[in-house]
Amino acid sequence: MRVTGSIAARLVLVILLSGAVIYCFTLAYIFYESRAVLQREVETNSRNLALSLVNLVDARLTAVAKVTEALARTVEVVEPGEAELLALIRATVASNAEIRGSAVAYEPFAFDARRKYFAPYYFKDTGGLALSRLEDTYLATPYVHSDWYQIPRELQQHEWSEPYYDEGGGHVLTTTCSVPFYDTRNGRRELRGVVTADLSLDDLTAVIGSVKILEHGYASLLSRNGMILAHPVSELIMNDTFFSIAEARKDPAMRELGRRMVRGESGFVRYRAIAGFDSYMYYAPIPHTGWTLAVLFPRDELLAGTVHLLARTALLGLAGLVLLAFAVINVVRSMTGPLRRLSKAADELAQGNFELALPPARYHDEVGALTASFESMRTSLKDYIRDLTETTAAKERIQSELKVATDIQASLLPRVFPAFPERSEFDIFASMDPAKEVGGDFYDFFFLDDNNLCFLIADVADKGVPAALYMMVAKTLLKSEGQRLREPDAMLTSVNRILAADNERCMFATVFCAILDVSTGQLRYANAGHNPPVILDSNGLRFLAMKAELMLGPVPGTEYHTARLRLQAGDTIFLYTDGVTEAKDPRERLYGEQALREALAKVAGQDPATIIHSIRDDLRRHAAGAPQSDDVTMLALKFGGARPGGKVGAA
């Protein structure tokens, strides 16, 4: 089925393409809109989740910080002795579940002028509390050079240490809260030492590390240095910082993001997770420590529901389109089916089978209207063909009658040659080739008496039956009047009077009429508007000089006049109608008088039959198959010579 070949194919193509385009646009719009909605929801959800985790961590930190602060203030105010101090630290560790260990570390010689370092430390050990003296355990470098001591000391403020693994208590991820305390006696404010409390992060990082968002989403905790404290990928924990990962990934944007995090900002960003998936990340600071908590929502998994829904919608749409295609094909078939049947019927109609019953139209739709039109056309054609058949039959009858008329007309002209075999004084030959079945030309010759031969040629204007009828009348009149009046002028004058008297149709005829006294060669002639005949004599060839007079018929009372000429022995007079000189070749060029003269010159001196046959042949050559447009009539008379004793000017 070529695309352009069938209405069904084109319709299906256009409708399906338009449908598909509209559908795709709608789907795309729904996708983008729902993604935007989802993104807003994710932002809210991730913020809530992150903040709840932040609160969880911060609550723990706050509790420990308060206890540490309280211990520091107590030591500051009470200035306990060694036994009191140990009891105080021990009670602090024992009564606070979150605190793994606590120390009160003094500046050199601050507790006891004899002891440089003094830092008792109680910690939870397997099976109870244990006491350790940090001045003894820190062998290589004194505790005063440790971060947990030095940073609060230098900054003069409480500090949470970078998380570290406490190897003493079994590789526990720990952070230490350090609070400096001062000698405030006598208005002084002199640093005396630092109180610390250790907080295990293991359960917090376990909670954070076990957060699972959809399939792969997770939560993560970063220290102030960007060190990864909690993450589902355990190899990263306490090994990699956010920045070292950015460096490994050669990702300056990630580094910039990390800097925003450690600066304590919060935000919602698109982020490529370390595990490699695209995600939405919300990050927020832990207020106490400046750490960062981040939650990652895997983007693909978030969108999976939407994508799934869209995929199913797309499938439904596809099914709908297929259904639509079938429906369209069906409707178009129901429309084009009758059309095709109609087209087939029209083909048969064209073959001429008008009896064929057209396929009935089911609906009063355009096809129904077309069928009705075809039906009306079929009836009209049928009627027309019937009329045509009748007309043709009538025409054929007329044709056959015309044929009879032609025969009759032909039989009216003297057709037997030689016409007067017993007369040696002259030789005469004539021919008439009608353009239609019956011609308007005629010729005639007859003896008026023993010596006078009347011969004439005529051309009735118009052709066909009217011309033939007119010709009959003219011919009959000319013969009867010729025999009565015996002079050309009188003949023509009389015949004209008769014809013109009752000539309502204004028909007319040109006639050249001559009477030859065969005993002398005396020729008397009159011309009613006919072409001048050609004389072929010893001087050659010339047109007969004569006064042109009116044709017969149109004007009543026309007088004609006789002219005279003496023919010598061997002279020939050639009469013809304008059908000769006006014969046309296929390119509509006329035969012309010049061609006639040349053709006649070639046959000068020959007998009349030869001359006429020769001219007819020449005319046929000139026409070269072109249809004859006018009757072609010729008459030639060759005078044999005067009989001895013949009188000139007889009659």
Partner: protein, 331 residues
């Protein structure tokens, strides 16, 4: 059923011991030597780990054992007590102990120039050594700060010294204005803690007129004299191992990270790769007439003079007395 598991474990251990001849304390035909690095496992000592793990020492007929190192553990003590045959020391440390009578000899000089830097935040406005006058400066204990003291002495700068621990957190939190940093270690730690290079002003000690070569291989003179072939083989194998390490950085970093995890240290691949690359920079001098491992005579004399001037040492031995080689023994 517990006894069954214990028996199974014992049997498994025996099987491993049999199938693992490398664990045999006395492999036949190999000379057992001990090496003590300067510090805990990191890429600073990558060549020695590679030499052991890739069998380079073994190919030279050596069975090298590494002694644990790190905070509180002194390689000088290990040498003097005979616990270590060889040790990695700084040139300044070695000269100080030689001056105090410990007969140390330099076998090879690995790090050709000082990698130490003084780092400050640009926001503090410190640009030069002179700018540090009166500011708080983090300084490491021991011999590590000798070049810095020498520099402050020369520039007549008096700073507020703050003992610097093993982290850079004090500097990161703003507790000190200037921190000591090794180019291959603490400087990069600052970078991967979120500080941009553009935020830092850095001064290389080596750019201030003294090269102060750092890590070198040392032994007691007696050890070298008694076992010259083994000593020579150890030096050659170590240099070969370092060359291998620089040619195969990824494999080398894997080896280093493995050592670090064994020691339960934070193991950061990016950081160790940085350290390895910097070690390559420090061990290969731009001048073509210095071979890897060579102690440059001029550098040695300059350091000796400087330390004498600072009264850190009373005197220093001649180059040929200090730098041991098998050829020198023949002399």
């Amino acid at each position: 059923m517990r006894w069954l598991r214990q028996v199974a474990l014992v049997l498994l251990g025996l099987a491993c011991a049999v199938a693992w001849p490398a664990d045999d304390p006395h492999p036949p035909g190999r000379n057992r030597v001990t090496l003590m690095p300067l510090w805990s496992p990191q890429a600073q000592f990558a060549g020695y780990y590679v030499g052991i793990d890739k069998g380079i020492y073994a190919r030279h007929g050596l069975d090298v054992r590494l002694l644990p190192a790190g905070p509180g553990l002194s390689p000088v003590d290990a040498l003097s007590q005979g616990k270590a045959d060889f040790a990695v020391l700084w040139l300044t440390t070695a000269l100080r102990h030689r001056d105090r009578g410990l007969p140390l000899v330099n076998l090879a000089q690995m790090v050709q120039r000082s990698s130490m830097m003084l780092v400050s935040k640009r926001s503090t406005g410190i640009r030069t050594i002179a700018d540090m006058n009166g500011r708080s400066v983090g300084l490491w204990g021991g011999d590590l700060s000798i070049p810095v003291y020498a520099l402050f002495e020369r520039e007549r700068v008096v700073v507020r010294e703050v003992p610097q621990g093993i982290t850079v957190n004090l500097f990161l939190r703003g507790g000190i204005d200037v921190a000591s940093a090794m180019w291959y270690n603490e400087y990069h730690t600052l970078l991967i803690s979120g500080v941009d290079p553009g935020e830092l002003n850095t001064i290389f000690i080596a750019d201030e007129g003294l090269r102060y070569p750092e890590d070198g291989l040392y032994a007691l003179e007696s050890t070298a004299q008694a076992r010259p072939a083994i000593t020579t083989a150890f030096v050659r194998a170590s240099l070969e191992a370092w060359a291998y390490a620089f040619e195969h950085p990824d494999e080398t970093v894997d080896i280093v990270l493995h050592r670090m995890r064994e020691a339960r240290l934070p193991a950061n691949r990016v950081h160790q790769r940085w350290m390895l690359d910097r070690m390559s920079d420090l061990m290969h001098t731009p001048s073509s007439d210095t071979r890897p491992g060579q102690l440059v005579r001029a550098d040695y004399l300059a350091v000796g003079e400087s330390m004498k001037r600072e009264k850190l040492i009373a005197a220093y031995p001649t180059y040929d007395d200090f730098h041991w080689s098998a050829d020198a023994r023949d002399r």
